[in-house]
Symmetry: C2
Subunit: 198 residues, 2 copies
């Protein structure tokens, strides 16, 4: 009665919302599996292939698109991003919860997907920064970038934020600890969903 | 953006599942309002009118039924039980979360209710005893009753348990503390539901 299929937790939110930290932290506790996306963009300093992303050549990415291997994929600022079906589906069947840290375009594709395994598993969350002021401060705080880059990042963030109503759940960020408590509560609650008990 | 309407958390489960303790404990913390039911049965020792139940004469109960004042009502073992709309609706509009500790018949009526305020607010949970053995032990453990009464209670509990799939969430009871953590997580998660943010 309490055997269940995995949760597919789709998490979006602008840069500076803290969503990636939430997802990584829960995965580091061993509670969920972090779904590693593919990308054609170049690794940033410190990023590890296979942990942060699967870094692919554009030709390889295109081949996988054509083979239908992606659950979702999108182009953002000239770079391709996507999640392989294989990164997700097998785990769900085994009752392993998977968290996908993806943008609003990708989330919309997962929402539109009519694979029964995905439909049963998915639940989506938008992580909202505490305020526009705090968001601006977080985006500037990274240090190295010039004001124009920060302004662009802020415009992108605000554009992304306009999509929050498309999600089932919204976490309005406050403190790091409180955010994590609520994030965990969402996963805990989803584990009690009758529709995933087999 | 983060103003929201209240949650109507409908909780069922057999005697011995611990559901009433969960509901009362959350209400005692001030996190939710416990919806006090009306009943025509006699008060048991220690029960307080207005806290445990609103104890009513059958004629008064019938008058309220005819006036359409009940959100749900049912007859169980010859006694009437019901929840007044006034006990619930005004609180939800003010963003106060209400927990209803009711049986499967009552829960089915709340589920069938097409009042938009109720439809937006409601979420239901079935609390399942850890095992049939543990349930029997909990039902016997109350002490004063004879074996036939206990056997009847167990049959009723098993009958009630057959309805768990009608609920959206199911909490399979383990320890008292763990149950409460999960119960609280469900409320916490429901507070992030976009459909209740106005």
């Amino acid at each position: 009665m309490s055997v269940r299929t995995g949760i597919l937790l789709v998490v979006s939110g602008p840069s500076g919302s803290g969503k990636t930290t939430l997802c990584r932290r829960l995965a580091d506790l061993g509670e969920v599996r972090y779904s590693v996306s593919c990308t054609t963009r170049a690794p940033r300093p410190g990023e590890v292939n296979g942990r942060d992303y699967h870094f692919l050549q554009t030709s390889e990415f295109q081949r996988l698109v054509e083979a239908g291997e992606f659950l979702e994929h999108a182009e953002v600022h000239g770079n391709h991003y996507g999640t392989l079906r294989s990164e997700v589906l097998g785990h769900l069947d085994q009752g392993i919860d998977v968290v996908m840290d993806i943008d609003v375009q990708g989330a919309a594709q997962v929402r539109a997907c009519n694979d029964p395994g995905i439909m049963r598993a998915r639940v989506d969350l938008f992580v909202m920064p505490p305020s526009e002021e705090e968001l601006e401060s977080r985006l500037s705080g990274r240090g190295t970038d010039d004001p124009e880059v920060i302004a662009l990042r802020l415009r992108n963030a605000l554009q992304e934020m306009s999509h929050w109503r498309e999600y089932r759940y919204m976490l309005h960020s406050s403190t790091r600890e409180r955010d994590f408590e609520r994030f965990r509560a969402l996963v805990e609650a989803q584990r009690m969903r009758v529709s995933r008990l087999t």
